[in-house]
């Protein structure tokens, strides 16, 4: 690896999938059934490069020295590709704006010159957070691509699918590697576009087209927040770069998340402006990461192909919000109120989504709500604002990417085998006919539920610990955490002059939320969510894989019998999975007389590979504390406000017991309800009573949005359409009639008689002559 510099390698990570995507587009129809090759090769190469970069970054960070937190040196590497835009004297910040405050520009850059230049480098960065994200994206992307070879074959859009997946991997890699808020915005939109195209992959199906549109429009709300946040950041900090840049005359321009600003405790704006930026970033994150109240698009996004759901709507794209907030950690650390809001949104989303998930009968929708719920967990963890909280969120992101991708791919395998049926009430006992899928699904479910040795247990415990340390700071005996909760690391009380009063008025109302009682409530909500998670996960496992074996009519075993009439109801996977009789799979015997429905090896291998990290990665990363140490070298997390909250790495036995207890209760309840006998959920319905209706209707979010936003907008659109058709078009038509009428008058002179035309010509000439003569005389 000596001959390649890391900056070259970093460029390769997005570049290779992009080349793969372009080649797939160009050669897709020539390659036919081999159309996956360019895309897959691109993603695979990118995965190798990403792992190499991870290793290189880890070497830079150095090993962890025991369990004690120590000051870590920030590790980052910037690779500027080209200058996108560069203007001198582009902007004069208004007097009194924070951008002109000398304290915020540590090197007295802008104090003298009040005219700022605007430059926009296309720069990629490599730091521990980016390296971690790149590895997750490319590795999960590769496994999903392999899986899709089995899942998507025979689909008419086969090349299109792989081109989109590779395009997505490119966009997502750029999103996490970009070192500039504007580039983040650009690729934030790009992943949204890929998501839109993949949700609507089977665009001839009305539900899919509608779901794609919904996802796009709901995301627009969040993107709007991000756009405004970018504007505000530019106005406030005078730059959009994360990193420090050196201008042509050798002055260091401090980037928003650059080391110059991070080193200075007064580098960040708090107060109203800071809170506004953070809340807008939170809005953006809510849109992309499907948090309350913008979560409604994610369950519908399950209309897309299952591998796309696994990659985009479970493992990677929806974590962009987590990434954005982690990246902006110093901004959030200056605004405790906004941080608390992050946690409140996250914990509420986690609880609400888990409650909805308990009554879903569609396997993919259970997983979708579980994704929303787990993302809520990560948000709750981010909102603590402590180093533990941020690293726990990324830890959970990592484990969640493994086990949720595994669960989705497992669900896809079930769907593939069941002829597109995904309603859990229509099949059961599949562990006998789909042993590999069942075993790997069980591993994923155990990890999601937080069963002790599996991955989710450790990451979820970290999150609970982060929340607990904020709720009961004294119990953790950590003065940093204690200091955090009484607001003493409120970095900037940016209210030096009265002239700044409008800019800097502290958001008293929001900051007042940051008190131990709030965190105690959030902790209990998260604990309840943990129990609910275990319940709905194992409810799905029991309904799908245990009990007497039942398969819907449309499904095909490897015996290959009959024609396929029945497809699933609303989640019909576009007629997929209706290809039975795989010739090469004749040897499946020994399933107790059952015919095998197991999916082809291209689909089961990724399941088995994903099962390994789902089982082990939690213990590995927790016991060695490697990830937390690694991530703490991310520049954003070395901000004093965050780094000061570093706590020794300990195993909180009491929290582990509480978490395990919650999970155990959930699993036991699920077992009572669904294990042993066939259950379509009447006990659950009886138990929940009217709540069941509430949960089954998803807390009426769709109906509320329909009544409050969609219907009024449709009414407005109707009025606008009528206005356009009658008023505007009518005016234009009326104006168009004037020349027609005038033409009608002149037209009469067109008699077709040559002599008359000649006469008119002569008269005209005479008139001119007379006129000229008269004028010359006069």
């Amino acid at each position: 690896m000596q001959e390649f510099s890391p900056s070259t390698l970093l460029v390769l990570v997005p570049l290779l999938p992009l080349v793969g995507a372009i080649l797939t587009v160009l050669l897709g129809h020539t390659l036919g059934a081999k159309a996956h090759l360019p895309a897959m090769a691109g993603i695979a190469a990118a995965a190798v490069v990403a792992i190499a970069l991870l290793v290189a970054t880890a070497r830079d960070v150095g090993p962890a020295h025991g369990a004690h937190a120590e000051a870590v040196r920030p590790v980052e590497m910037i690779s500027t590709l080209w200058q996108w835009a560069s203007f001198d004297a582009a902007y004069t910040p208004p007097a009194g704006s924070p951008a002109t405050d000398a304290r915020l520009t540590p090197h007295d850059l802008a104090a003298a010159e009040d005219v700022r230049s605007f430059s926009l480098p296309v720069a990629l960065r490599l730091d521990p957070l980016t390296a971690t994200m790149l590895t997750i994206i490319t590795c999960v992307g590769l496994l999903v691509a392999i899986y899709s070879v089995g899942y998507m074959h025979d689909d008419p859009g086969y090349p299109r699918f792989f081109a989109l997946v590779a395009m997505f991997v490119f966009s997502m890699s750029m999103l996490v590697a970009a070192s500039n808020f504007l580039l983040v915005y650009v690729f934030w939109e790009a992943v949204g576009a890929c998501s839109y195209l993949l949700i609507g992959f089977w665009f001839t199906k009305p539900e899919a087209a509608r779901a794609a549109k919904k996802a796009f429009l709901v995301n627009r709300v969040g993107d709007f927040g991000l756009a405004i946040a970018v504007f505000l950041l530019w106005m406030t900090y005078g730059t959009l770069d994360f990193h420090d840049t050196i201008s042509s005359d050798g002055v260091i321009m401090p980037g928003i998340l650059g080391q110059t600003r991070l080193a200075d405790a007064a580098g960040y704006v708090g107060g109203a402006v800071g809170t506004a930026i953070c809340l807008l970033l939170l809005l953006a994150a809510c849109g992309k990461s499907a948090q309350l109240p913008l979560h409604v698009w994610l369950p519908d996004a399950m209309e897309g192909p299952t591998p796309a759901s696994a990659l985009i709507h479970a493992a990677t794209m929806v974590t962009a919000g987590i990434y954005l907030i982690t990246r902006s950690a110093p901004l959030f650390a200056a605004c405790p109120g906004a941080l608390t809001m992050v946690s409140i949104v996250g914990a509420t989303t986690a609880l609400v989504a888990a409650l909805i998930g308990t009554v879903q009968n569609d396997l993919k929708r259970v997983l979708a709500y579980s994704t929303i719920s787990q993302l809520g967990y990560m948000f709750a963890s981010l909102g603590t604002g402590t180093l533990l909280g941020f690293t726990a969120a990324i830890f959970h992101l990592l484990t969640h990417a493994c086990f949720k991708a595994l669960l989705f791919l497992g669900a896809g395998s079930v769907m593939h085998a069941m002829g597109g049926v995904i309603d859990m009430r229509r099949f059961g006992g599949l562990r006998r006919v789909m042993p590999i899928t069942a075993a790997t699904f069980f591993v994923g479910a155990a990890a999601l539920a937080g069963v002790a040795p599996f991955a989710g247990f450790f990451s979820k415990d970290e999150i609970l610990a982060a929340l607990h340390s904020k709720g009961w700071p004294a119990a953790h005996g950590d003065h940093h955490a204690a200091a955090a909760s009484d607001g003493s690391f409120q970095l900037i009380a940016f209210s030096p002059e009265a002239a700044h009063a409008t800019v800097t008025a502290p958001a008293v109302g929001l900051d007042a939320l940051d008190r131990p009682e709030t965190w105690q409530i959030l902790f209990w909500m998260s604990l309840v969510t943990a129990g609910l998670t275990a319940f709905y996960t194992f409810r799905a496992v029991f309904m799908t894989f245990t009990g007497p074996t039942r398969v819907p009519e449309g499904a095909h075993g490897h015996g290959g019998h009959g024609d396929h009439g029945g497809h699933g109801d609303h989640a019909d996977d576009g007629g997929h999975g209706s290809h039975g009789g795989h010739g090469g799979h004749g040897g499946h015997g020994g399933h107790g007389g059952h015919e095998s429905y197991e999916s082809p090896s291209a689909m089961t291998w990724p399941l088995m590979i994903l099962a390994i990290p789902s089982a082990l990665v939690g213990w590995l990363l927790f016991s060695t504390n490697w990830l937390a140490h690694f991530l703490s070298a991310t520049p954003s997390l070395t901000a004093p406000a965050v780094a000061a909250t570093a706590t020794p790495h300990v195993f909180h036995m009491n929290l582990a017991i509480q978490g395990t207890l919650a999970a155990a209760i959930g699993i036991v309840v699920a077992a009572i309800g669904h294990l042993g006998r066939r259950s379509d959920g009447p006990q659950l319905e009886r138990f929940l009573g009217p709540l069941q209706t509430l949960f089954a209707n998803k807390f009426y979010f769709d109906q509320i949005y329909s009544a409050l936003i969609v219907k009024p907008l449709e009414g407005l659109a109707l009025v606008a359409a009528l206005f356009d058709r009658h008023v505007i078009d009518g005016t234009v038509d009326a104006i168009a009639r004037i020349p027609v009428a005038l033409g009608g008058i002149v037209r009469r002179s067109q008699s077709g008689l040559l002599q008359r035309y000649a006469l008119v010509g002569v008269m005209g000439v005479l008139a001119i002559v007379v006129l000229l003569t008269w004028q010359l005389r006069g």
Binding site: R747, R748, Q750, S751, G752, L754, Q755, V762
Partner: protein, 150 residues
């Protein structure tokens, strides 16, 4: 003073040119025969040419003379082209009457009739043809040998 530049000579020449031009103009406005109209237009052109020559001579500038030579050349070519048009128009309608083309008027304008033209002779018009030579090509029965009106 150069006798060629005398004013009476110019006046006489211009009078002749104006008479030629006016005769042509009257001819074009009053006659309906396409060939006569064409001749009248030529007459107007020559009237202009005469005044051009007169002015040229009066000013002692040979440019006008040269221009008139060019005009004559162009007029000869134009006459050939114009006669082709007249011939084509005649072969379409069988008439040299300009009013035969008044069907090119606007749709909602009525037909102008000063007096009715005589009905076309129902007997096919016969024109002299060259004596046939060589092998007679096979006749196409779909194609009439002779058009009704030429």
């Amino acid at each position: 003073m150069n006798p060629a530049q005398s004013l009476p000579l110019l006046q006489n020449a211009l009078t002749v040119g104006a008479i030629l031009f006016s005769l042509g103009l009257v001819g074009i406005l009053t006659r309906r025969n396409l060939i006569v109209m064409f001749l009248a237009a030529e007459m107007m052109l020559q009237g202009i040419s005469v005044s051009l020559v007169a002015w040229s001579r009066y000013h002692g500038d040979w440019g006008g003379h040269v221009l008139v030579i060019f005009v004559l050349t162009v007029a000869a070519c134009e006459a050939a082209v114009a006669l082709v048009f007249v011939l084509q128009a005649f072969s379409r309608t069988g008439r040299l009457d300009a009013a035969a083309w008044q069907s090119l008027r606007e749709a909602n304008v009525g037909r102008t009739i000063d007096h009715e033209l005589p009905a076309i002779d129902t007997v096919p018009l016969r024109f002299p043809t060259l004596a046939p030579a060589g092998v007679l090509p096979p006749a196409d029965e779909n194609e009439p040998l002779q058009r009704e009106h030429v």
